[in-house]
Symmetry: C2
Subunit: 296 residues, 2 copies
């Protein structure tokens, strides 16, 4: 297999192009008066980003010889959800971030009201997209349940609500892990399991993937916290140290940098172990190291 | 048939109870840390409201001898969507309303950040609810497409974006009608057609219902504008004249009160005509008069 950097770069290009195509088709369907919300949706969707969730979905579907067209479309829906959550998260009422991926946050360009609506539109459209997946209806319904669970109040949104609940409070490691399991881990699970649902897997495989996704999400969050402390603005596209400024508990603030790094390595080990039952899991294995060693 | 007031009262009670039951079940599924977002969801969901959308869904399903359990669940999902849109609409970044249905707006009680998340959670949960409808998967997928279209940027959210686009501008009647077709009409269509999809209807019936729903949504909006001018605080549960204060174009501001009333009567006629092909449409017919003559 190619080096993972190359695979991710190639897949990211494909996902970027599919997002552009999708917006073009939406423009054709709508009339000019809706240009303002479409412009705002496009602004945030095409703002770059790693596209890690759709890439995972596609690669998992590929691993189980599933329907790749459906996997790309599902991946796009997850990217819409990820994008909406960032728009709402950046609002003054939430994290109050002026920059995202090196450019102004959505509300700094389109205004707060439009930013709220743009997030709502992206979330709603994600489900429209899922309902059109090129799969039998039983599988579509299964995937919509998965995504709604992982994105909703028992998943991503619930995690964000915990962020608010524990604002300005010192929290312990268990609570932090729980918040992140909801906030980041849940959507990673949707990406991994959703990709698998574009194929057919058995119970044992599903459990292993669920376990892998949980560890991968955790690893992603720990490395995120480390990068917020040690990263570089040009690579990250956002100010460094913003967690500290917001007085947020992070793996680094609770454990210190050295122990946070140690926890990342251990979490990577656990993710690797979860893959043991699979004969071929080259991409998923490489992805662990890729996230462990990322610098942006 | 009973007088429509009685039918609506009875159905509203059922819907209210089903919403309470639903929230109870959600609490059982989640853990205490999620109480804050559940409290906020419950606050807005149980704030009363006419429940007109779920009642329509159920009554249309009944008219075509469809699956009533599915119709109630679908109606609840529409109520979640309606409720989320009100929460986001009341935010300072949007209409900045402190009161809704005689009680403080969600963000005045739970804070703006939580209000944003509560809306997100309700919208996401609406699709979770739709995916669990007691119907065959093909119908579920059809209903999810319908609801996502009508609630999304080509429907309700698109209409709200037009509100922002035309803010502080004088607009003509056609533009106002277009905004409302998106903003209010679309979700009424989802309620009517969704109810019909819980049964089986042919193309001609679908077109007639689509036409009826459009006129009903328009009628609802015109009477809303009239009530904002002439209504009474105690019955409305919100300040009268808020449209004027926000400098919003309404049917009353564009046409004047007398012509707006005339337009309401004509729209009611058109809605009645749309029902002509049906032998039995007693509820839908009475509903037109009910909305035309409402005082809250």
């Amino acid at each position: 297999m190619q080096a993972i950097d190359q695979v991710i770069k190639t897949e990211k290009k494909k996902v970027d192009q599919k997002i552009i195509d999708k917006i073009d088709r939406l423009r054709q369907k709508s009339d000019f008066t809706l240009n303002s919300i479409l412009d705002s949706m496009e602004y945030s969707l095409s703002a770059g980003g790693k596209r890690i969730r759709p890439i995972i979905t596609v690669k998992v579907a590929e691993m189980f010889k599933g329907n790749l067209k459906a996997a790309y479309d599902l991946g796009l829906a997850l990217e819409f959800i990820h994008s909406y959550s960032l728009i709402h998260d950046d609002l003054p009422a939430m994290d109050d971030d002026n920059y995202r991926r090196g450019q102004l946050s959505n509300h700094k360009v389109f205004g707060e009201g439009m930013a709220v609506l743009t997030g709502d539109a992206l979330l709603t459209f994600a489900f429209r997209q899922l309902a059109s997946l090129n799969l039998e209806p039983t599988k579509i319904v299964k995937i919509i349940k998965l995504v709604a669970d992982k994105a909703g109040f028992l998943g991503m949104v619930g995690g964000q609500s915990l962020d608010i609940r524990y604002e300005d409070q010192k929290i312990d490691l268990d609570t932090l892990m729980k918040i992140h399991q909801f906030k980041t881990g849940a959507l990673f699970k949707a990406a991994v399991l959703g990709g698998a649902y574009c194929a057919s897997i058995d119970q044992e495989q599903e459990e292993a993937l669920d376990n892998y996704a949980e560890k991968l999400g955790l690893l992603f969050q720990i490395t995120d916290d480390i990068l917020d402390k040690t990263g570089n603005y040009d690579k990250m596209g956002k100010p460094i140290g913003s967690d500290e400024e917001l007085n947020k508990s992070t793996y680094v603030s609770i454990l210190g940098l050295a122990k946070a790094r140690e926890k990342a390595v251990k979490t990577a080990d656990k993710a690797r172990k979860a893959l043991k039952i699979f004969k071929e899991a080259e991409f998923l294995t490489s992805l662990i190291n890729y996230i462990l060693n990322r610098d942006s």
